[in-house]
């Protein structure tokens, strides 16, 4: 992928803090989804968020990309601190994401879905768009180029023109990843990228995630339930339980943490 458009003027070095959430609390009425959680994501790493069902993992991603607005806390992305994100701001600042239950544009082809990921990179106005001529045409060709590279990268050439609603689940997840990659994100949020996949599909997906991280240097935060995958892929892991952070560290450290073992296996009362 030829990264032609750099969205970020001040570039961070690998290992700098890309995103930090501080003391974030989120409640829906009386239900507390997240309570006073802080953690950071460093540039270039693969960060996993794990925890039992209902621990607030997806809510955390929704806070980061602005779908949910926390009642308390701050979010710092690329050095800019906000009380809450907005989806448009998150997307234009370089946060892309996938969803737990695949959210694709079902009636559109694979190609159009991934092209939709280029929306923010395309600038020609309505006037040229109406004629699809001149700048609009040139731009379309240029972005199609990037999209074709992503299609090659994800090995989905054969389904380029297929409406995604007709694709099997594993491929839909791959297209969704492609759409997120088309945004050339600085931070890629993956919500259970391997849920519902068989072993082979999981291995493919793991390979893509590692390649994205190493080849393009994209920082990745992922939620995953398959502990084997999490331990293999991630550099650091944050563990949530009932909306609170109970552990944070390397996979090895987290794996031997007594609180984490209790959270997953239960404690005798």
């Amino acid at each position: 992928m030829n990264v032609s458009v750099q969205s970020n003027p001040h570039t961070l070095a690998k290992g700098d803090t890309l995103l930090a959430v501080e003391n974030v609390s989120l409640a829906f009425g009386g239900v507390k989804a997240i309570t006073d959680v802080s953690f950071d994501i460093k540039k270039g790493e693969i960060r996993a968020i794990i925890g039992p069902n209902g621990a607030g993992k997806t809510s955390m991603l929704n806070v980061i990309n602005g779908f949910y607005h926390p009642q308390q806390g701050r979010i710092t992305f690329k050095g800019e601190t906000r009380q809450k994100m907005r989806p448009y701001v998150a997307a234009s600042q370089g946060i892309a994401r996938t969803f737990q239950n695949v959210a694709l544009f079902k009636g559109m082809s694979t190609l159009d879905n991934i092209m939709a990921g280029r929306t923010l990179k395309m600038k020609t106005g309505l006037f040229w768009q109406l004629w699809r001529h001149g700048p609009a045409m040139r731009e379309e060709v240029e972005h199609r180029h990037v999209v074709e590279e992503i299609i090659d990268f994800l090995e989905i050439q054969a389904i380029r023109k297929t409406p995604v609603g007709k694709l099997p689940y594993g491929l839909q997840k791959r297209v969704e990843l492609g759409r997120a990659l088309a945004m050339e994100p600085d931070l890629l949020l993956l919500d259970e990228p391997m849920a519902g996949m068989n072993l082979e599909e999981k291995e493919d997906m793991s390979r893509f995630i590692i390649d994205v991280n190493t080849q393009y240097g994209t920082t990745i935060a992922l939620i995953e339930h398959d502990m084997g995958v999490v331990m293999d892929l991630s550099d650091r892991v944050v563990v949530l339980e009932y909306g609170r952070k109970i552990a944070d560290g390397t996979p090895a450290a987290v794996k031997s943490d007594q609180k984490v073992i209790d959270a997953y296996l239960g404690v005798p009362h």
């Binding site: 544009f105 559109m108 939709a116 699809r132 731009e139």
Partner: protein
Amino acid sequence: MHSLYMVLIDPFVQMVSAPDLFLQTIWEGLVAGVLYALIALGFVLIFKASGVFNFAQGMMVVFAGLTLIAFQDLGVPAPLALILAVGVMYLMAVTIERTVLRPLVNQPDIILFMATFGITYILIGVGEMIFGGEPKDVNTKAFMLPQGSLEIPAFGGFVQLQKIDIAAAIIAALMIGALAFFFQKTRIGRALRAVADSHKAALSVGISLNQIWVIVWFAAGIVALVAGIMWGARSNVSFALQVVALKALPVLILGGFTSIPGAIIGGLIIGIGEKIGEFYWGPLMGGGIESWLAYLIALGFLLFRPQGLFGEKIIERI
């Protein structure tokens, strides 16, 4: 036996024995069909981009037509009146987005549908307050729309074509072509379709729902304005037109809610079917077929091809 003959055979005998009359009937049907198609197009635009059946589309046609007429009555020259009317349509799109759609983002479709009922009645109220309730005529001369008719000899008789109808058909065709192209081939078109499929996915790639909705409602407003002018040029613009506009519903069932070509062909089929039904079978039942035949055709389609002629077949994985 006689009644069977009258229903099954006699109408066809009539068609063959007076082919010029038959052609004339088809032409009348086509003309009505073009108008149905234009109105249906407004529905399709909004349905494609928000998954909502916009009940207010018929009223938007009336409102757009009356706005234009009001500007003309004030003595504003026609081209300027047209631009001002387009401006009013834009303001309406922005207002609807701000006050109705934005607060209801991510609500179930049925809630948005009900909201369009509300929009309809607000438009009726505001419209009657500003423009008054009586029917009004569009000043066609000012728009340089052709008048009079062409008589084309055919099969020993002749077919009479109103020039204004020909103009309406051409304008509608151009407009529909442009919209179809815009939807399929451009970034904004793609964003429109994306919003229709999934709000949250569209948000996650940075598509602005607000901007897209304004564009769509504005486009639907322009289509409504054109439909209003064309309708007004043939008869007049009144609030009763709103009910006629609901004929777009069977057109959409026939053509598929998400298909622009479907709206066209559906419109033409309904238009022609109605006129032929009325002319040849109407007398058998004392007339008045025109008002319900379209719904009967739509019912047939619902039974055998619920996605319409061109609609996307919805496959749900379980």
